[in-house]
């Protein structure tokens, strides 16, 4: 087997040649209207918009910054322009049940007109009704009614008063009523004077008084009825007068809205209410506070609020269906709310205080929501589902829903919902909702799954250049010259973590463009150049590098023990990745292995102390399987080995260090020193093949940064050969590789890695499974054979000892 060679420098970085582009700067490029690299998501959105069925709402899933919102907005705006302007909605008073305001649907633009018309009507009524009641005709008719009843009162009481006078009986007012008493010559008789009267006279007076009292009682009993009759007659007169004053005004309105049954019905109810409450239009405002309550403000003029029109949604001036994005989707902001005002410590409300929610505004169109925001707002998710299920918006406060408050509030009439909801969120949330919320899949049937990257093909790169140009134009940035575009594409490949792809993460690319624009401005460039992009990239790394530099500093100072020269058995430089915020970097870690005679166990110390995650533990078990199968297929694996990440104090997860761990273990068994100038990354399977790992660029750069000051041509990193097409290394790493001062070795098998790390021939097994003399693998095999024999010997001694001491087999 030939030893593997380091990768050439041009394999470490896929350069984008600016010469491929025919433009000088992005100013020459057309705006990119299409969504680049998201064909699947675009198809889903197109389908979702077209499906006008219940439950066909959309969930656009992908990481934050991928452009979900832009895509949704762009598509929905385009679609919305082709759709009809939806109806206006308003709430009006329910004259029969004021606690349940009525919702009126009007063609777009007519709700505001109705509001203005009702305001004008009330204004006109405020002069028309008083004028009607101020007329001589009305006054005369009212006087006639009052006179009729007055005469009835007078006649009834005149009889009593006359009889009382004739029978010498006085009628005297008391604080609570009328008392009757005997008189003589206009003076009430005292009881003594009365007793002096002859007995028959006394009886006669008493009888007269009783008779008058009965008559008085009888007459007084009729008084409330007469008063009621009089009030009713006056009220009927008022109705007649009001109807006459109001009728023609309402008729004119009715004509304007004759095509709208609901408005005509409302006008009919309003007219009836005006007729019933005409006195409100006669009362001037102001006045004195109620007696005994001087702290109260003077009574206000009667309110005509009940004739107002609360325009909830006014679509006048719209040119298509609405597309609404609600960035604070609280319960109230979604479905609307009923506000209250405080009056003398009490909270009061009416239909004019009903406020629309995002669902009202989006009715007839589209509503875009961030799913995490919806889920994090109390009861917003439940309410959104309820509304979508019911197909109508019912405004209820949380207090009402949870029965926390029992005060009288409004129950506005529900409004039918015809809107498509588009949720934006990451994949984890989508899958969790699919798994744990049975209603979710019924209500959000369309998933638009966003790609995080796209192939860097000859067709895509010119489009990507237009994307750069479009983002720059949209953000009012300077034009990018083609060198800058090429550098952006290279950095985009690095963001994608793949030399053959470019990132679709629009937010990150946009950030890079804006920052490059800043450097262009700082550097006094007319256009953004490749150097400006380079400055932006370098600045991004510099800003985020504090932790990385501190770690490397501690390694250089010897606080963290990492050798980068010499060779040590059982010790390998592994590579891990640390992520802080958006920045990830590679960190070299010393992995060591110790072996001794034992029962065939490889102890993962990280796992023992619960610092190793399940995937890391899986990697350890795999390498144990590989060890037994390759070197001890026909004899017991009689070792006890321990593996550890030295000076690691946090949790370790992933199997990308399993190659390094296997090499450390084999080196310890073979007693073969491992080169410390080479770091290792990769995972292994049970056949000794090396498998791809993530963040290969960061890991290589992590070791390079540590060795940067002492590069002598011996340093390098072994990576899985499957990761070669992911390489987009930093310029300084590539330059060091080109100068032969740093090497990247692509290894496909453990043996290839061992050869680089130990300088020994690994050796291939013969047909009997034995490795050639002097090879690395033979050393491992011999050591394991020796351990097996020694284990057998120890086992024999123990059995003999047991027999001598106990005479019985231990079968337990």
């Amino acid at each position: 087997m030939a030893a593997i060679s380091p990768l050439p420098a041009d394999a470490l970085y896929r350069r984008c040649d600016p010469a491929k582009f025919s433009f000088a700067t992005t100013a020459e490029l057309e705006i990119l209207e299409d969504i680049l690299g998201q064909a699947r998501a675009v198809e889903a959105v197109t389908f979702g918009i077209g499906m006008r069925r219940q439950g066909y709402n959309l969930f656009l899933l992908g990481p934050a910054g991928i452009g979900k919102h832009s895509l949704a907005r762009q598509f929905l705006d385009r679609q919305a322009k082709t759709e009809p302007v939806p109806a206006d909605w308003c709430y009006v008073n329910n004259f029969e049940e004021s606690g349940k305001p009525r919702a009126l649907r009007l063609p777009a633009g007519r709700a505001a007109r109705l509001r203005a018309d009702m305001e004008s009507l009330v204004e006109e009524l405020r002069s028309a009704i008083p004028a009607a009641f101020d007329s001589d005709d009305y006054r005369t008719r009212k006087q006639v009614i009052e006179q009729q009843f007055k005469e009835r009162h007078e006649q009834s009481f005149a009889v009593i008063q006359d009889q009382a006078r004739k029978k010498n009986v006085a009628l005297i007012r008391t604080p609570g009523g009328i008392a009757l008493g005997p008189t003589r010559e206009g003076e009430v008789l005292s009881s003594e004077e009365f007793r002096k009267l002859p007995a028959p006279e006394q009886e006669r007076v008493k009888a007269d008084m009783e008779d008058l009292q009965r008559q008085l009682q009888e007459t007084l009993r009729h008084v409330p009825k007469w008063d009621k009759e009089q009030r009713e007659k006056v009220r009927e007169l008022n109705r007649e007068v009001t109807r006459f004053a109001v009728g023609h005004l309402i008729d004119a309105l009715r004509k304007d809205y004759e095509d709208l049954d609901n408005v005509r019905e409302y006008l009919r109810a309003a007219e009836a209410d005006i007729v019933e409450n005409a006195e409100d239009f006669l009362v001037a405002g102001g006045g004195e506070p109620p007696p005994g309550l001087p702290f109260l403000p003077p009574p206000e003029a009667p309110s005509f609020t009940r004739y107002e029109v609360n325009v909830l949604i006014d679509n006048s001036g719209m040119a298509g269906a609405p597309v609404v994005y609600e960035d604070h989707p609280s319960h109230g902001n979604l479905i609307g709310r009923v506000e209250h005002i405080s009056q003398f410590g009490a909270l009061i409300t009416d239909f004019t205080l009903i406020k629309p929610g995002a669902l009202h505004r989006a009715n007839g169109g589209y509503l875009i929501l961030d799913v995490l925001k919806v889920l994090s707002q109390p009861f917003a998710w439940e309410e959104l589902k309820r509304v979508l299920r019911a197909g109508e918006i019912r405004i209820e406060s949380l207090g009402q829903i949870l029965s926390l408050v029992s005060t009288v509030s409004l129950e506005p009439e529900s409004i039918p919902l015809d809107a498509k909801v588009v949720l934006l969120g990451d994949r984890l949330v989508y899958y969790l909702l699919c798994d744990y919320d049975p209603e979710f899949s019924e209500l959000f049937k369309i998933a638009g799954d966003f790609e995080e990257d796209m192939p860097a093909t000859a067709e895509n790169l010119p489009l990507y250049a237009r994307l750069v140009g479009t983002l720059a134009k949209n953000d009012k940035l300077r034009p990018f010259d083609r060198g800058a575009v090429a550098r952006v594409i290279e950095q985009s490949a690095r963001l994608a973590g793949d030399a053959e792809k470019v990132s679709a993460h629009i937010l990150s690319v946009g950030d890079l463009l804006r920052e490059a624009n800043y450097w262009s401005q700082t550097n006094g460039h007319e256009f953004v150049t490749a150097a400006d992009v380079e400055s932006a990239v370098a600045a991004q790394i510099r800003r985020a590098s504090r932790v990385r530099e501190r770690i490397n500093e501690e390694i250089r100072r010897g606080t963290v023990l990492i050798d980068t020269s010499g060779a040590v058995p059982g010790q390998v430089n592994g590579l891990s990745v640390m992520q802080f915020g958006q920045y990830a970097f590679g960190r070299p870690t010393r992995i060591t292995a110790r072996v001794r005679l034992g029962p065939g166990r490889v102890i993962d110390i990280e796992r023992e102390v619960k610092l190793g995650g399940p995937i890391h533990s899986k990697g350890i078990l795999i390498l144990t399987g590989f060890l037994g199968a390759r070197y001890a297929a026909d004899r017991p694996l009689s070792l006890s080995a321990s593996l550890v990440f030295e000076q690691s104090y946090g949790e370790i997860e992933g199997d990308s260090a399993s190659l390094a761990e296997l090499v450390a273990l084999l080196s310890a068994l073979a007693g073969a020193p491992v080169r410390q100038s080479i770091a290792v990354t990769g995972s292994v399977n049970q056949f000794g093949q090396i498998q791809a790992i993530g963040a290969v660029n960061e890991k290589i750069e992590g070791f390079f940064d540590l060795c940067r000051d002492r590069l002598d041509g011996s340093h390098g990193v072994i990576i899985p050969s499957a990761n070669v097409h992911h390489l987009m290394l930093r310029r300084d790493v590539v330059e060091a590789a080109a100068a032969g001062r740093f090497h990247v070795y692509p290894a496909a098998t453990v043996d290839e890695a061992i050869e680089v790390l130990t300088g020994m021939t690994p050796g291939e097994a013969d047909s009997a499974g034995h490795f050639p003399e002097g090879s690395f693998n033979r050393k491992v095999e011999d050591r394991l054979t020796d351990m097996a024999k020694r284990a057998q010997k120890f086992s024999g001694l123990r059995e003999r000892g047991d027999r001598e001491h106990g005479g019985e087999d231990d079968t337990s």
């Binding site: 009162h153 005297i172 604080p175 009881s191 007084l220 008084v223």
Partner: protein, 287 residues
């Protein structure tokens, strides 16, 4: 104060209350009026001796105005009610007078209502009474109390119908009687005071005469009198109007103050009584 205004000189006002009047509106108006004309105010609460005498009869009953049911008259209870009412009235009057910086006194007398009011009114320039007092029902009054304001006091009388609305207009009746100038003086004084308080009531002068010429004379005299004071007014001559026609012409809304000379023949007729009864606003009878 102009010479015309001095004709309506009020130094002492009597506000007469009996136990059947609720009193709050009456007291407030009396204090305000006293404040406006810078007069001293006397409250008089009359305990009706006839009612006491009546209550001594074992068979005496009163019929409730609200329920219509008879119940025995209880003298002790009546006296207890009167004391409570009188105390309440006194405290209200004193409090309001203190607020408005009006000198006031209050006394309780026991006697016949008409006689006591007449006696007290002899020393007052103006008596303020509530027309609702002693009413049988909303429309019917006991005859004796209806006669009182017209035939009783020797000074002027202000009759109220509950709490009056803010005055926005003044209607004055002039004829060839002796009190005409004083009525105009009263109108001028009150108007001037209201103007200083920020309101400018309209003044309408109804000039009554037995003939057209007499009405015109009456109008000319009133015009001249008011022109001297620089007062604008609307003049409405009313010639040969009978009591009914005059009563109809003088019917005023709640925010109008009607000022009549007490010598107006109309007032001694049923139509006059009806005019006072039907007026929604206050009526000032000037002597």
């Amino acid at each position: 104060m102009s010479p015309l205004e001095e004709l309506f000189s009020v130094r002492r006002i009597l506000v007469a209350l009996d136990p059947t009047v609720s009193g709050t509106g009456l007291l407030d108006t009396a204090v305000e009026f006293a404040h406006r004309v810078e007069a001293e105010l006397e409250g008089l609460f009359v305990e009706d001796v006839e009612l006491m005498r009546l209550a001594e009869h074992p068979f005496a009953h009163e019929v409730s105005l609200t329920g219509g049911l008879p119940k025995p008259l209880d003298l002790a209870a009546i006296e207890r009610d009167w004391r409570a009412l009188a105390t309440g009235v006194r405290l209200s009057l004193e409090a309001r007078a203190r607020e408005m910086n009006v000198r006031c006194s209050f006394r309780v007398v026991r006697g016949r209502l008409e006689a006591e009011v007449r006696a007290a009114a002899a020393e007052a320039d103006l008596v303020i009474m509530d027309w609702a007092g002693a009413a049988l029902t909303r429309h019917v009054r006991l005859k004796t109390s209806a006669e009182l304001p017209v035939a009783g006091p020797s000074g002027s009388v202000l009759l109220l119908h509950g709490r009056p609305a803010p005055i926005e207009s003044i209607v004055v009746v002039c004829d060839d009687g002796p009190a005409t100038k004083r009525v105009l003086g009263a109108a001028a004084r009150l108007r001037s005071r209201l103007r200083s308080e920020g309101t400018a009531p309209r003044l309408t002068v109804v000039c009554r005469g037995e003939s057209r010429a007499a009405a015109a004379d009456s109008e000319n005299a009133a015009r001249e009198t008011l022109r001297d004071e620089g007062i604008d007014a609307v003049f409405r001559p009313l010639a040969g109007a009978g009591p009914e026609e005059l009563a109809d012409a003088l019917r005023t809304p709640a925010n109008a103050l009607l000022m009549l000379p007490a010598s107006l023949p109309l007032l001694s007729t049923d139509e006059g009584e009806r005019l006072i009864a039907d007026s929604e606003g206050p009526v000032l009878l000037v002597r």
